[in-house]
Structures are given as C-alpha cells and as structure tokens.
Symmetry: D2
Subunit: 91 residues, 4 copies
C-alpha cells in the first residue's frame, strides 16, 4: 500500500543487488553479448537505482522536511527538496 | 535564487506559451519540416511542461503538504506527494 | 505489434489532442483545482507528447537515417540521431 | 565532437567507475549521511549509467542496425531499436 519508504536495511540490500547488476553488465560487455540485451539489463539497473532514489526522497520528506516545517523553519528545506526533485526528475 | 515557485498568473502565461508551441509543432508537421528540427521543438515543449509540473509540485509542498504536517496529519499527504513525484519522474 | 510508426494524419490528430489537454490544464489552474489532479493531467500531456516524439524518431530512422546508410553516407546521420535520442531521453 | 561512441575498453572503465559509485552510496547510507547528499550522489551514478546506455545504443545503430539496412533487412532492427529507445527514454 505504501511503496516508497525504505528502512536502512532495505536500502543497503537494494544497493548491493544493484552493485551485482553493474558487475553483470561488465560481464555482458566482456562476453560481447547482444547490445539490446545489455541495454535491457542497464535499464533494469537504472530503474532499481531510481527506486532507491525515491526511497531516499521519501525518507527526506518524512523526516528532515517534516521536522523543519514543524519547527516553523520549512522554507529552506522545501526549496532544497524541490531542487533535489528537479535533479532527480532529470532537469 | 528560488526557481520553482510560480504564481497562478505565471502558470497561465507558461501554459499559453506551451499551447503556442504545440500549434507550432502542428505547423511544422504540416509543412513536412525536417524530423530532427520537429523533435528539437517537441523537446522544448516537453521541458516547458515539466517546468510547470515542478511549479505545481512546489506549490503543493508549500501549501497542502505543509498545512497537513502543521495539523499533524501529514502521513497521507506525504504518501500522495511521493506518488506524484514518482509519476512525474517517470516511473 | 509495431507501436511507434505514425502517419502524418495520426501525428496531427495526436498534436491536436495534446493542444486540447494544454487548454484543459489552463482551465484547471483557473478553477484552482487540486494540485495533484493538475499534475496528473500534466503528466498525461507529457506522456502524449513523448509518444509523438517516438513517432517522429521512428519516422526519422525509417527514412532519413536508412536512406543515408543505403547511400553509404550514414555516419553524420547516426551522429545526429544519437544526439536527438540523448536530448529526447533527457540528458 | 562525437560524444556517444565508446570502445569496449571505455565501456568497461565507465562501468567499473559506476560500481565504485554504488559502493560509495552503500557507505553513505551506512554512515547516515544527509539524504540530499546521498540523492545527489545517486543522480550522478544514474547519469553515468545513462551515458553508458547511449554508448551502447550508438554502437547498436552503428553496427547491427546499419548492417541490417545494408543487407535490405532493416525493418525488424528498426522496430527493435525504437523499442529499446522507448524503454531507455523511460516509457
């Protein structure tokens, strides 16, 4: 039901799996596997990285941004958040 | 210094300019202009739309999300926000 | 089965529908509709624009790039194509 | 002047550097570094992965697609390419 929150343990597990995918890519390039298959595997690693990014953004809003707002000091945090979202969304 | 906040008037001006860009694209297709030039123009319209999207997200965090947090009812809003960010970021 | 090719007529129909979506967005902003609903509608217009972009890229590869390759003059076209793909993919 | 083509050696070097960035992310999460800094580092790894993706796409167009077109068998390859571009561009 709530898909973005990740505990530290889950973040680490996912990052380790992504590290494995990157090593898998090195193997595929080494073995001259078909480009389209390598790109498919690369897209899957990128998607996994972006899912971790959403988990981190979620964590950030849920803790840092929320606490700043509760203390009445949210402006700067909101600005920083939007800038992180913009870079994450690729612009 | 703060680049995402947009007043209603600015949102409307930008949307009107994007509407003009879309009509420009129709003209370019109609006149069989070179595909790469049409794609360049289309990328520019997409970037303008996404800038408006960031303006709307900024507005949303600054008002709806912040007010919910201040009232101690932020959980649902944060969840909704992250889902909007995920779809905006294209996944 | 083949989803990206678009005839000129289809490109125009889609661009006209996108123009309508942009006007819909202006109305939503004007009526102060809920930000998340406006963002959802904006994401839908962006996705429609990108589908047109893929149609244009497909057209470009199928005609301009292919013809250049057949004439043994593909290098420059491939370079131009990759630069268009890079900008389309947002980097 | 031509930025996407990558030799096998360059692909491998870049993938190894990305593997290092992923391990750096694990360290940052482990040390509870500030979320926004982790996201910034993650965006940088994603951008590096996507640059490798463009290198692979370039390679693919320059060799597989071109050869198929030269043999008069380009249709299937163009279709496969557009589908790879669509997934790479995130839709």
């Amino acid at each position: 039901m709530y898909g973005y929150a990740m505990k530290k343990k889950e973040l680490q597990d996912r990052l380790r799996r992504i590290e494995g995918q990157i090593r898998g890519l090195q193997r595929m390039v080494d073995e001259d596997q078909y480009c389209v298959d390598v790109i498919t595997q690369l897209n899957s690693a990128t998607a996994a990285l972006r899912a971790v990014g959403l988990g981190l953004l979620d964590e950030h809003v849920r803790h840092c941004v929320r606490e700043s707002i509760e203390k009445g000091e949210g402006d700067e945090k909101v600005e920083e958040l939007m800038s992180a979202v913009a870079r994450f969304a690729g612009r």
